[in-house]
């Protein structure tokens, strides 16, 4: 692909801050017409912030954006659409009861004027045909979207984004995450066709092998900066390692040293645990060690954590300190001594409009109150002590949680768990959206906690599970896979469902 000849997008020195957090610092990013450009980086690296600026959801704090050589401000989604930028979200929102064609032209049906004007069905069909003649794809747009396979829904969403003639830049946010291998191949062939039609595609993915399969160039983000931009050929020739670029070498993750003992008292034991999302899981969590469970999104880890916490019903045996238990609610599990640091801390873990003190004591109201009345002084002291222990930044006990970065919000969830003084802590995706400095602190805290309690870590980040845990287990499509002895075996078990030879 001839690059550098027809630049459609040129972003220079883009800056974006959220409160105290610098999401993007002096970022350059450019796109050529007719290229597939992969955008890579770990969670929180700044990819989605850049995309949101490009699609007009966020306004940039600084820098310039040239589209087709013309200065654009892109302050609103409408401005972005008018500039020729279209986004397909990770989980496109389509109306299941309408046909593919109706979804594509939703809101632009070309109805006769008036609220009760009849929708021009033949017109829609004709326009859908016209669209398909521009982009010849094998798809039946007269089917209901709810009846379509995942890849066809993805294609409908892409056609929806391309329905306007002026679309020059197409952003695909992890389109393959729900697709099978065969479906992925047909999505890729569509992408190649769009490339041939001169459309620039920004392709966000976490699957690095796809970069070499489909992309022409790639850009790596780390810590809110553009750290590398190479063509795929260049990367292949010079053997450039993308994971090293993504994680960095200088400020790599430091995992705390393992304890090296597996003889602690058994705290939590599960046998044949089954619920919606996973089946027949057995595990043992001991005091003094960290049990790691690696599983991709959709593998059942989230459901497993909720079943152990009594938030969803399950069958099978669960034993706490040798006694059979059955939790009918999170309140039951908390009472018994289980604490969950949930995967979605904003939706499940915190009360964002309340301050640090409130959030620290929320899971142990009996300790936080006396005769039903809140112990304001004691709670403030306890919250301060715990905030110091988890190294909250900034140390503002009266600030609402909304005003803290992801990593510090996570520290408050951990402080809440410490205030609860549980026997078994379950961490789910503990470092999603957490910057690298806070990550090391969180890993150290887990190790600290494991001295007095059992700790289970569940994550879709294989390096995290491997780095922090004493023993590991993989979950693949709801099925536990044991026996992985090193990182690569664990990765293979979680991604392919077996142990590599």
């Amino acid at each position: 692909m001839a690059s550098g000849t027809r630049t459609v997008l040129d972003m220079r020195g883009i800056e974006k801050r959220f409160g105290d957090v610098k999401a993007l610092g002096n970022v350059d990013f450019d796109l050529d017409a007719g290229e597939i450009h992969a955008l890579l980086g770990v969670n929180g690296a700044g990819k989605s912030t850049l995309i949101k600026i490009l699609s007009g959801v966020y306004t940039k704090d600084g820098g310039s954006i040239l589209i087709g050589g013309v200065q654009h401000d892109l302050g609103t989604p409408r401005a972005a659409i008018e500039a020729g930028i279209a986004v397909v979200q990770q989980h496109p929102e389509l109306v299941g009861d309408l046909t593919g064609a109706e979804n594509i032209f939703l809101g632009h049906e070309g109805a006769r004027p008036g609220l009760f004007g009849r929708i021009d069905r033949s017109g829609i069909a004709a326009r859908a045909e016209a669209l398909l003649s521009r982009f010849p794809i094998q798809i039946d747009l007269s089917r209901r979207v709810a009846d379509m396979p995942a890849v066809d829904r993805e294609i409908v969403a892409i056609l929806h984004a391309l329905r306007l003639e002026n679309t020059r830049i197409l952003i695909l946010d992890e389109p393959t995450s729900t697709l099978t291998e065969r479906e992925k191949a047909s999505l890729f062939s569509m992408m190649r066709m769009l490339r041939a039609a001169g459309i620039a595609i920004v392709y966000i993915t976490h699957r690095l092998e796809e970069v070499f399969e489909i992309a022409d160039r790639f850009t790596v983000f780390r810590g809110g900066r553009n750290v590398a931009c190479h063509t795929v050929t260049e990367a292949r020739d010079k053997a450039i390692s993308i994971p090293v670029l993504m994680l960095g070498t200088g400020e790599g993750l430091t995992f705390p040293p393992r304890m090296g003992r597996a003889d602690g008292d058994v705290v939590l034991e599960a046998e044949g645990l089954t619920a919606a999302g996973f089946a027949n899981v057995g595990l043992t969590a001991r005091k003094g060690e960290i049990l790691g469970i690696f599983g991709l999104v959709g593998s059942g880890v989230d459901e497993l954590s909720k079943a152990l916490f009594g938030a969803i019903p399950s069958t099978g045996t669960l034993r706490l300190e040798g006694r059979d238990v059955r939790f009918r609610s999170p309140a039951d599990a908390l009472k018994a001594g289980i604490f969950l640091v949930p995967g979605d801390r904003r939706a499940e873990g915190l009360t964002l409009d309340e301050n640090v003190i409130f959030n620290t004591v929320a899971a142990n109201m009996s300790r936080a109150s006396l005769g039903g009345l809140m112990r304001f002084g004691a709670n403030r002291r306890a919250a301060r002590e715990l905030a110091q222990m988890v190294d909250l930044q900034p140390m503002r006990l009266d600030r609402a949680l909304r005003g803290f970065s992801g990593g510090n919000q996570q520290k408050v969830v951990i402080a809440r768990g410490l205030y609860r003084q549980a026997k078994c802590y379950i961490f789910v995706e503990p470092t999603v959206g957490v910057d690298i400095g806070a990550r090391s602190r969180i890993y150290a805290l887990m190790r600290e906690i494991s001295k007095d309690a059992a700790v289970i870590v569940m994550s879709s980040d294989c390096d995290e599970v491997h780095g922090v845990a004493d023993r590991t287990l993989a979950l693949y499509k709801g099925r536990p896979i044991e026996g992985a002895t090193d990182r690569d075996q664990l990765l293979h078990a979680g991604i392919m469902g077996g142990i590599a030879a």
Binding site: L334, T351, M365
Partner: protein
């Protein structure tokens, strides 16, 4: 920093009340007379009690549209008990029990069975209005009122305050302790802001929602008891006038102070009552009052809602 912001809000509120009072006073100097201020405080007592009850339901992010109907039934129950010779404390207990039972039913339907709150409470409110006709086929009840002692609730004074206002202050004090200093209140705020995270923190969210509805029904019936005591008769339409002012007071207060709370509701009630009282003095016909209350409510929400004001600044920036 936060107390600073609270101070600014208090200042803004005081200024607003002062401006409103000054306008009415300039039109009719009787507005600031002792007699009128006492009348205002009486009016505030009835509205304030209903609004305080509603505050709990709003804190757990639900709606109760049944309390006016429930209050009507409470009023008729009170009237019927007094007319049939029951001692007035027992009659009041009967009225409050009506509110409590309806509140528990509302809360159970909404929290346990997951029914939609608005439709459910419209229905239970309608049910309560229907029941209130049973006692006397809809005619108002005033037998025995003079003898029973219930009128003391309106006429007596306590620590220099008119009894209704003293009752409001006592109720507000208790509500403030529950909502702002107890684990019940902390749980209610947690439940209202994020049901899932509250459940994950082991908070009994359903029980707290039931409790909020129960408090709302009971306090609406306490409010109506004061109204019956002041008018000397119970009638089936008594509760109807509680609905708009209560919602207006809670939302106006929440808009002024950033979140629903006991203090915010009292401030909202004070403003609503001041305006209604002033318009009465200016001889503006009473049937306009609902329209005025509604307009103020919408205006207040529009001005103070952070998202709306945020939107306005973005527009301004975009225009610049």
């Amino acid at each position: 920093m936060i107390s600073n912001r609270l101070f600014m809000r208090l200042l803004a509120f005081a200024a607003l009340v002062a401006v409103i009072a000054a306008v009415f006073w300039s039109q009719n100097p009787a507005f600031l007379s002792g007699g009128n201020i006492r009348a205002l405080m009486r009016h505030m007592s009835v509205q304030g009690l209903a609004a305080l009850g509603l505050t709990f339901v709003i804190v757990v992010r639900h709606f109760d549209l049944s309390f006016p109907g429930v209050a009507s039934m409470g009023a008729m129950t009170l009237g019927w008990l007094i007319a049939s010779g029951a001692p007035f404390p027992a009659a009041i207990a009967g009225a409050l029990a009506v509110g409590l039972v309806f509140g528990l039913v509302n809360g159970t339907l909404v929290a346990r069975f997951g029914l939609p709150d608005i439709v459910t409470t419209i229905a239970t409110g309608g049910l309560a209005v229907g029941f209130s006709y049973f006692y006397s086929n809809g005619t108002s009840i005033s037998q025995n009122f003079f003898m029973s002692g219930i009128l003391d609730l309106n006429d007596k004074r306590f620590l220099g305050l008119d009894m209704p206002f003293a009752i409001l202050m006592a109720a507000a004090g208790m509500a403030a302790v529950v909502l702002h200093a107890s684990r019940i209140g902390a749980g209610m705020y947690a439940t209202g802001q994020n049901r899932v995270s509250a459940r994950f923190a082991g908070i009994a969210t359903r029980r707290l929602i039931v409790l909020a509805f129960a408090l709302c029904g009971t306090m609406a019936c306490l409010a109506i008891t004061l109204l019956v005591a002041s008018s000397g008769a119970a009638n089936v339409t008594a509760g109807g006038q509680l609905l708009m002012p209560a919602f207006a007071a809670v939302y106006l207060g929440a808009a002024l102070f950033g979140r629903p709370s006991v203090g915010a509701t009292l401030a909202g009630t004070l403003m609503m009552s001041t305006m209604l009282n002033g318009f009465t003095l200016l001889a503006i016909p009473y049937y306009y009052s609902d329209a005025i209350v509604s307009t103020v409510l919408i205006a207040a929400i529009a001005i103070f809602d952070p998202r709306l004001s945020g939107l306005l600044t973005i527009r301004r920036k975009a225009a610049a």
